[in-house]
Symmetry: C2
């Protein structure tokens, strides 16, 4: 029962095919067959169901797989952690994040990283929702995650900055130009909702605030990606509250809310960041993230 066998299994399952997995792993399909068979022999039964078209996990495989995946990913992280501590001049740093942050706060950080730590390649894993991000971080896909503060996270969480939330309005909106807008002033408008809304104690922030203001937000449309939501709002579909920096380059109006809302951006990982990961956190705090480090 070796790491290699698990790596092979994971790849075969991900690819749904021995042949494609073999190409990806740079071995022959025969080697895969042998190894998977050996793994199945040791595990006491078949893990994969060989279908005429591709493969699928057996019930036993489903019990086995998540652990194997975590083992494989942890091993990869171990290697990267060691390399990052050693040379700091080569290797990879895997960062997981949500799409909204990837387009918003990370580009500048990545640019500085490239100049200052050229040897360490950044590998970005972007997810559409925070749930996705957390789920994949738990499975160990990345060394470090950048995103909203996780509600439940068994590991170190560092606040690297805060974002100011603004209300997005189409160009020429009557409220445009105001210094700030109270939420009840738009109580009668439809809203653009997004999968990535900040959550507080299990409830969406906006719902809580609207309830306090005495109305229930009417949803015009619900999107996965924040960038989509922003364009909806800019087109006048409805009101959206989102982080200010996600609007750069768009033809729309943004007005701060009254009272001002802020949302934390955090970096979190399974173990205290060392080497490259630690430097990345420092860079995050120093660069580009409004309110960084507090």
């Amino acid at each position: 029962m070796s790491l290699r066998q698990m790596q092979y299994l994971v790849t075969v399952v991900e690819q749904g095919s021995f042949t494609r997995a073999a190409e990806l792993l740079h071995v022959t399909q025969s080697a895969l067959s042998h190894q998977i068979k050996a793994l199945e022999r040791e595990s006491g039964g078949p893990l994969l169901e060989r279908l005429p078209r591709g493969v699928r996990l057996t019930p036993m495989g489903r019990a086995y797989f998540p652990h194997a995946e975590l083992a494989v990913r942890s091993a990869a992280q171990a290697r990267r952690a060691a390399l990052a501590t050693a040379g700091a001049e080569s290797g990879e740093l895997h960062i997981a994040t949500v799409h909204a942050h990837a387009v918003g706060v990370l580009p500048e950080v990545c640019a500085r990283w490239g100049r200052e730590h050229g040897g360490v390649r950044l590998v970005l894993h972007e997810y559409a929702t925070t749930e996705d991000l957390f789920a994949h971080m738990e499975r160990g896909v990345a060394d470090l995650a950048v995103g909203p503060r996780p509600e439940k996270w068994p590991g170190p969480v560092t606040v690297v900055g805060t974002e100011e939330m603004v209300m997005v309005l189409p160009p020429g909106d009557p409220l445009a130009g105001r210094a700030a807008v109270r939420i009840d002033e738009v109580a009668d408008r439809p809203w653009v909702r997004c999968a990535l809304e900040p959550v507080l104690a299990g409830r969406r922030w906006l719902d809580v605030e609207c309830e306090r203001a005495g109305f229930t937000p009417r949803t015009a449309v619900r999107t996965q990606h924040t960038s989509t939501a922003v364009r909806m709002a800019a087109a006048g579909v409805g009101v959206l509250i989102t982080a200010a920096h996600e609007l750069t380059g768009l033809d729309c109006t943004a007005v701060p809310t009254d009272p001002p809302w802020r949302r934390e951006i955090t970096a979190f990982s399974r173990v205290p960041p060392t080497g490259a990961a630690a430097r990345f956190v420092t860079l995050l705090r120093e660069t580009g993230v409004p309110g960084g480090g507090r």
Copy 2:
């Protein structure tokens, strides 16, 4: 970079010595040296500091180690998960728990398990505190944990029962024989505190309740193990509130609190329990745990 190498490293670090680790792993010390050296070569530098007396992790080793440990433990869990799903007639099921539960609720469950699933050996990992339990579960030491509901846990949590909390009094105490006792009736007494007190939203339950009752509990003694605390209380050192079933066989008086307190017993794991683990959860709910299944 194989699992075996990581397994070797973990054992060497745990044992603090190549020689002892070699014995434990049933290989020669030479094999260990070779493998660790190979691992260090691939990792880009030494992971262990060779001291005249035993070994220690280098900074790089400290970055590497936790990931390696998780990889090793996950692999072991994968194997067990597969075997448990396969035969269900052999293998091991690793259960992590806190000492108080190990002596309180588990004996009966384990007895039934032995009769009904004799082939699957139970391996118990007992920890003194819930913090210890959670920390070790995160590192993947066991397939399933039994204990109080974890505050932050990234995985399935099942309530398997509730325990009634009672106030422990020495034999002949004036309050003994009462149907129930309010907490403010013992406001002037010293308390026996225990590391394993139920926690609610980050604060110890007892502190919250006493604050509500208008006093601050005065601590007579603080213990690690609940069983110690129970004996303290039975000896008249102070008042203790703990689960009723932890008193079986002791010469002391237990009086329910007014209002009644209950604490949940949960089973939690990293992935949905399958096979042996799933059956164990079922057994927990069916057996011996007051209020099981709700």
